[in-house]
Symmetry: C2
DNA sequence: GGTTATTTGTTCGTATGTATC
DNA sequence: AGATACATACGAACAAATAAC
């Protein structure tokens, strides 16, 4: 028999599953403290060790954080972030940039196809924030605004999986964006090309949106050498 | 002080980290059984529960599997797979297909730029396997060959992060590929367009490679309606 | 500033379920 | 069927960090 019969779920797995549901459903909100171990032991009717193994699993996965003496808190609603962070740390900037290219190109294409009125407002808001920061020569504010802009482009794609992957990469991208912005001496070029991208998306010019993404990624790659 | 001082690593975290190293370094090979709990307790000099919490974390992350009565085995060297699988299960086929588009488009582009002689041989091998399976009208073999072909295209990109993301998605893609191949009544169209893609990569025609990927993804999207 | 209560961190002992030979 | 090796699960105790009084 090579049939991999699905073993009955262990107690720990059952508890993990229940906690996941509580987090996903929003019953346990992000940032909030969860009930102490003793309460959960009663709630789930398991021993302390079993409960701890379950909590520990979710800590490793990045859903929870425990602080000795204080309690346990909800950190995220998805395990993707932690896993991607770990993987990206082992990658070169070039590799990360190319994956970013993959996601942003697709995101821009879909955004140009699907953006609605609300998306347009968000895009305009964030591009003007970039513009203001550039004018004030506030590099830190510019980086933050740039990240928000890219995120809102992704949101305009209306593909939740794509948005999730990008948002969870974004944390790791922070560093590489910083390096890139610092290297590209010309902030205006950076700003202009983003204006062009936003414009393409609003005008629903799919090809121009894709080309623009290609253009600035190519620019980044060049500055990496 | 808003500085988030990095708390000293808990014992469990130290053990997790050590086990990760053992797996990454290849000292514990994939598929192999790891030493029993009692041995590890001595090796790491921790209590049973501490060790179990560490192992349990890595089981949840997908690095290890435990089988009661048999032992614990190494399942994977990366936590990405399990996390991506969980996330993709919550997504629609369309969303998954679009992310696949993102990765495959980038992969094809980079493959066309970087493929070496060894890559070319692999690509030729797998495309001919597809061809043989199509001729024999063996759908199951065709699907398998198709997956291997796509994987070898990704390998030709020489971007390990991209390869990892794709390979870990591939498992979840299996199902959607099956549905798509089944739906597309014309296997020859599917085969021809893949020949064109492989040809473009070998000829280093970057634009044609990208266009070909766009073409068959568009075809898949159409058949989803 | 010190004491106490709360909460997580860690250890030990014991019993049970499961697979292999 | 019995013995062995292994993971599963529970309960009790003490340590360490934090918060509240």
């Amino acid at each position: 028999m090579t049939i991999s019969k699905t073993n009955r779920l262990s107690l720990v797995e059952q508890v993990v599953s229940q906690i996941e549901s509580l987090i996903e459903s929003g019953e346990w909100k992000i940032g909030n403290q969860i009930p102490p171990e003793m309460d959960l032991i009663q709630q789930f009717d398991v021993s302390r060790n079993t409960l701890r193994e379950a909590v520990r699993s979710l800590v490793y996965a990045g859903l929870l954080v425990t602080k000795q003496g204080k309690g346990t808190f909800v950190r995220s609603s998805s395990a993707l972030g932690a896993a991607i962070e770990r993987r990206i740390q082992q990658s070169s900037i070039l590799e990360t940039l190319e994956v970013r290219h993959a996601l942003e190109r697709e995101g821009a294409q879909l955004a140009a196809l699907r953006r609605n009125q609300e998306d347009i407002e968000q895009l305009r808001f964030h591009i003007s924030a970039c513009s203001r920061a550039a004018e004030a020569k506030d590099i830190k504010a510019y980086e933050e605004a740039d990240i928000q802009l890219h995120k809102s482009i992704m949101v305009s794609s209306h593909n939740d999986l794509l948005i999730d992957l990008y948002e969870h990469m974004e944390y790791s991208l922070h560093e590489s964006i910083h390096q890139i912005v610092e290297m590209s001496s010309d902030v205006n070029f950076h700003l202009n090309i983003h204006c062009k991208l936003v414009d393409s998306i609003i005008e629903q010019d799919v090809n121009r949106a894709i080309e623009t993404v290609n253009e600035y990624i190519a620019q980044f790659k060049k500055s990496l050498e």
